[in-house]
């Protein structure tokens, strides 16, 4: 089942690989900024996936320009909608993460999460 | 067999009196104490003798639970033992009035002395195994104060050891008792056994084990190897009268127990020729030899006598385990004789200690000059114990050997008598030196320093009586023998 299908749906394949990369970054990186980058990679990968799903070769965006054609003419608009929403969400999340990072950096002058927690232990808070 | 309450009096009267004596307050004069005790002893003795000469009576007191009555009965064996107990107890009691003056807390001694007397009577007259067991345990518990009377560290340890061994035995008996209860339709003593043939069918092996346990349990009290350990420790520690009754009578409690188990619960036929009999015979013979050997090697006077008790009681056991009428007669005879003899010996030893404070045999050189009467009694008793005709010991041993010889118990029929003879020689070896050294101190003994240390009448009389009994019964034994062989006949 691998072989040709995989090659045909290379977009999805790439998306999933990217997701993996992002996920592992978010999970494993010590540096907060890198974590956040990983997060974004992960989300973008998902949007790529959605877009791949949404696009059907040889059709146009569902925007009526020259009279209404039949449904077959257009691609499925829902994934696009999803992507948009997703982007909004991810942006807001990223914003929060960044703000948190800034706070931490101001406090501890480092972006290394482990080191921060070590410091906390020292503070004995 | 007729019910009668009279049986309870000799049992509970002394117990009650003893308790009163213990809880009551110290009397003004010492004399009062001894009078009181003496009175009680005599009264009880009278009652017991009344029962002994009277015909067989029984009395059921109440039921412990289910089918367990507390039940008394005066039967032939009981009569014999009760008689022996009474004689010994009274005489030793009178001896002790004088003796205890030296000891502290005489009141406690006499209190327990009376109580144990009652209990022993109860033991002899108890009519079923539960009652017997009950009094057996009480005997242990209440005779313990007699052992540790002097309250030295040694005495207390001796008391504990005594208790430990006795309870070991008692519980072995109890263990067996449960099973007997299961396989017998009653626990009431009946000649030739109570086992219910239908129930026992197929369970003989189990029952043999059970019987073995029960015999072993009682033989602890009788000081049989390997459970003799407590006896040479406990008896010497007690004051002389106490050790006299301990050695003379209380060990016989074990003997009585064994008689009850063999002839009244299981029946001789059930055990005859089984591995149980063999084992027991071996053990008893070992004990006979070992006991006299140890006695021979022992230097302490009372301890030596204690060892001799070990061996002598095993004579009795040997006779019992032969499961033969003649040897049984022999055993019963020996029960009676040994009681008197050993009691007499201990009293003599006590008298010596009381007067001279000498406890070791080798100190006794020339003692015969100092207290001739005592030593004469001692000599007579020794002769009786050794079994030199016409003294009593001879008769019993004769019966034992005769019984042994015409039983079918393979090797024992000749091995037994041999060992008995050897041990008789040893007995001579460990008893006679006292007399000889006592009367013939030898050249270098200076008669100038000699002072008469004869004890007072109150002590002499019991000794003389006992010695006389030990000797006379040997000369005119017919009546006694007739009685006992009749009993033996009933049982087999």
């Amino acid at each position: 089942m691998v072989g040709p299908n995989l090659f045909i749906n290379y977009g999805e394949a790439v998306a999933v690989i990217l997701f993996g990369i992002g996920f592992s970054n978010l999970l494993l990186q010590k540096n907060l900024i890198k974590k956040i980058i990983g997060l974004n990679i992960m989300d973008t990968a998902i949007y790529l996936f959605l877009a791949e799903k949404g696009y059907i070769a040889g059709r146009v965006a569902p925007i009526v320009v020259d009279g209404v054609q039949e449904v077959e003419a257009y691609i499925n608009p829902v994934p696009s909608g999803l992507v948009l929403t997703g982007i909004v969400v991810s942006v807001s999340v990223t914003a929060i993460m960044l703000s948190l990072t800034i706070r931490l950096y101001r406090r501890y002058h480092t972006l290394d999460l482990d080191e921060i927690s070590m410091r906390l232990k020292k503070e004995g808070l | 067999m007729n019910e009668s309450v009279t049986i309870l009096f000799p049992i509970f009267f002394p117990i009650l009196m003893g308790v009163l004596l213990l809880v009551g307050k110290e009397p003004k004069k010492k004399a009062l104490l001894s009078r009181y005790t003496g009175g009680v002893l005599l009264l009880t003795a009278l009652m017991v003798l009344g029962l002994v000469w009277g015909k067989e009576v029984s009395f059921t007191m109440f039921f412990l639970t289910g089918r367990l009555p507390v039940y008394f009965r005066v039967d032939s064996i009981g009569k014999v033992f009760a008689f022996v107990v009474t004689v010994v107890w009274v005489l030793a009691g009178f001896f002790s009035f004088e003796y205890m003056k030296a000891e502290n807390a005489p009141r406690r001694f006499f209190g327990f002395y009376l109580i144990v007397y009652g209990i022993l009577i109860g033991l002899d007259f108890s009519g079923n195994m539960i009652t017997f067991y009950m009094f057996y345990e009480m005997m242990t518990l209440l005779s313990m104060p007699l052992v540790l009377h002097e309250r030295t560290k040694a005495a207390i340890m001796a008391g504990l050891k005594y208790m430990f061994y006795s309870f070991c035995g008692a519980y072995m008996v109890l263990f067996g008792l449960y099973f007997v209860y299961r396989y017998a339709n009653t626990l009431t003593f009946t000649a030739k056994g109570v086992l219910d043939a239908t129930l026992t069918a197929g369970n003989e092996k189990l029952l043999l084990v059970v019987a073995f346990f029960m015999l072993l349990g009682f033989s602890v009290k009788a000081g049989m190897f390997p459970f003799h350990g407590w006896l040479p420790v406990a008896h010497p520690e007690a004051p002389a009268p106490a050790s006299a009754v301990l050695s003379g009578v209380i060990v016989k409690g074990g003997v009585l127990g064994i008689i009850r188990v063999i002839f009244y619960l299981f029946g001789a036929d059930f055990l005859r020729g089984t591995w149980v009999q063999t084992t027991m015979l071996i053990l008893s013979l070992v004990t006979v030899f070992m006991g006299s050997m140890l006695a021979y090697l022992e230097k302490g006077m009372k301890k030596r006598l204690a060892y001799s008790t070990v061996s002598q009681v095993s004579y009795i056991l040997f006779g019992l385990f032969l499961l033969d009428p003649v040897s049984l007669t022999g055993s019963l005879l020996h029960v009676v004789f040994h009681a008197f003899i050993k009691c007499g010996l201990f009293l003599c030893a006590g008298a010596i200690i009381f007067r001279t404070g000498k406890r070791r045999v080798d100190e006794l050189t020339g003692i015969g000059k100092e207290m001739p009467v005592t030593i004469w009694c001692f000599t007579l008793c020794s002769l009786a114990l050794i079994g030199i005709p016409p003294a009593s010991g001879f008769i019993s041993k004769w019966y034992l050997c005769e019984g042994a010889l015409h039983t079918k118990t393979a090797v024992f029929s000749w091995l037994g008598p041999v060992i008995l003879l050897i041990s008789a020689l040893l007995t001579a070896g460990y008893l006679l030196p006292v007399t000889i050294k006592g009367f013939f101190p030898g050249e270098d003994y200076d008669y100038a320093a000699l002072v008469k240390k004869e004890p007072v009448k109150l002590m002499l009389v019991p000794m003389v009586i006992l010695a006389a009994l030990a000797f006379v019964l040997g000369i005119v034994p017919e009546g006694l023998i007739r009685q006992l062989s009749a009993i033996a006949g009933q049982l087999m």
Binding site: - | L64, T65, Y133, L141, G159, M163, F167
Partner: protein
């Protein structure tokens, strides 16, 4: 209804102690004594009326309910408790004089009474489990009472052990709910072949687990170490709870589990029976030998309790009606003997502040009453004929022999060995007390006296009970036999 009342009176009455303003200590004493006595009378009344019907209190999750009912076993346990509690109260008033914040103590002490009755009256497994847990919780403050370091440790241990045990017993409960026809206690068990199916072995395993679970309170080896530690509690607690109420509750629960829930027909002859019997036999010997080594009086008694509890369980594990009868007999008789000896120990401590065996030399001369009673109770514990201990031992051994179960016969051996050890560790105390070494100077103990009547009265009552049960036990044993045959 009356059952509920009997349970609630002491609980409420106990709780009220905290709020009621007492002018003098005596008032509180009188008040509490009244509460307890009323309860006992009520219980007596109930018992005299015989078995009652089912009385549901609250509905629990899916058609389980808390409900009360009085049957034979319940009668025994309830009767026992209600007989002992007033006396213990009387005793503790005197004893607690020297202790601190006794209001709290008496509150919980009284409440425990109610809870224990609850266990006795419980009609089904769930109800019993409910009261069982409560019992643990209510008794913890009593163990904690002195608030000393070891008291804290002891109470912790007590909690962990009891709750843990309950957790395992709980499994049994749930299995009964699923596989039993009902969780109500029914003589002969609630398991039926069709419900079982192929689950037999699983259920046996579960039985063992539940047995161990309840066994924790009954202090079977290896779950017994909490009991001696809990001895730091004031003596009335040790005596009444850790010799009677709590530990007996464990044994009682096991009786319920074995005879009224799983059913002996299902268990007898299975590997489960041999496992539990083996454990119990081991505990019998183990407890005694530990008692022998122990020199602290109360702990020594506690160990002896451990082994004696296992006598009861031994009777249970024989799994014949006779066995149950024996178990019940020992349940009652041991309660009397042990509470008596504990009270003696308490009296000694109270009067002389002596806690160790080797300190007792010659006290017997000065406190004849206490030590006399102690002697009697020790003889009873040894099982000397004529005292109650002998009867229960006899019934147990008899049941063992009758059952024809080989292992049970070895069990008798265990009983007797432990009896021997009991003789040693109890009588060694007695001998010390009455026959001190000759060089011992009586001056050192001259100021000690017997305690006052509040302490002595219960003791003498117990002695009387021991002797009466010992000499004339036929009726009560008959009663037990009826119960164990499922008549009551």
């Amino acid at each position: 209804m009356m059952l509920l009342a009997a349970i609630l009176i002491p609980i409420v009455g106990g709780a009220l102690v905290m709020v009621l303003p007492f002018k003098k200590r005596a008032h509180m004493a009188v008040y509490l004594e009244i509460v307890v006595v009323i309860t006992s009378l009520l219980v007596g009344l109930i018992i005299s009326e015989g078995t009652t019907g089912r009385f549901p209190i609250v509905k629990f999750v899916n058609n389980l309910s808390l409900s009360l009912e009085l049957d034979g076993c319940g009668m025994v346990f309830a009767g026992l408790v209600s007989a002992l509690w007033p006396l213990a109260m009387l005793y503790s008033f005197e004893y607690m004089k020297k202790e601190k914040h006794e209001k709290v103590f008496f509150m919980f002490y009284t409440m425990t009474y109610g809870i224990t009755l609850g266990i006795a009256f419980a009609e089904d497994m769930l109800t019993m489990y409910f009261f069982y847990e409560l019992l643990t919780l209510v008794t913890v403050p009593l163990v904690l009472h002195t608030l000393s370091r070891e008291a804290i440790l002891a109470s912790r241990k007590y909690l962990y052990y009891s709750l843990g045990g309950a957790a395992f017993a709980f499994i049994g409960l749930v299995f009964l709910m699923i596989y039993g026809t009902t969780v109500d206690f029914t003589y002969g068990g609630v398991l039926t072949p069709e419900t079982l199916g192929d689950k037999t072995n699983t259920l046996l395993l579960i039985y063992v687990i539940a047995f161990m679970g309840f066994g924790v309170k009954a202090a079977i080896c290896p779950f017994n170490s909490w009991l001696p530690q809990a001895g730091v509690a004031p003596t009335p607690v040790t005596a009444l709870l850790h010799a009677v109420a709590v530990v007996k509750a464990g044994a009682f629960a096991i009786i319920r589990l074995t005879y009224y829930s799983f059913g002996t027909d299902f268990l007898i002859g299975t590997w489960a029976q041999y496992v539990v019997m083996g454990v119990v036999m081991f505990t019998i010997v183990y407890g005694c030998s530990r008692a022998l080594k122990e020199t602290h009086i109360k702990r020594r008694l506690a160990y002896s309790t451990i082994s004696n509890l296992s006598y009861i369980l031994f009777g249970v594990t024989i799994m014949t009606p006779l066995g149950l009868a024996g178990a019940l007999t020992h349940l009652v008789f041991h309660a009397v003997m042990k509470i008596c000896s504990f009270f003696c120990a308490g009296a000694i401590m109270y009067q002389t502040e002596k806690h160790y065996v080797h300190e007792l030399d010659g006290l017997g001369r000065k406190m004849p009453a206490v030590f006399g009673v102690f002697t009697v109770s020790s003889l009873a514990l040894m099982g000397v004929p004529g005292l109650c201990g002998f009867i229960s031992k006899w019934n147990l051994a008899n049941a063992a022999v009758m059952s024809g179960n080989v292992m049970a016969c070895f069990g008798i051996g265990a009983l007797l060995i432990s009896a021997l050890l009991t003789a040693i560790y109890m009588l060694s105390i007695v001998i010390r007390a009455f026959f001190p070494p000759e060089d011992f100077d009586m001056e050192s103990v001259k100021e000690y006296r017997d305690p006052n009547w509040m302490m002595l009265f219960p003791l003498f009552l117990f002695v009387a009970a021991m002797i009466i049960f010992g000499l004339h036990s036929a009726p009560i044993v008959q009663f037990f036999t009826d119960i164990s045959n499922g008549v009551l």
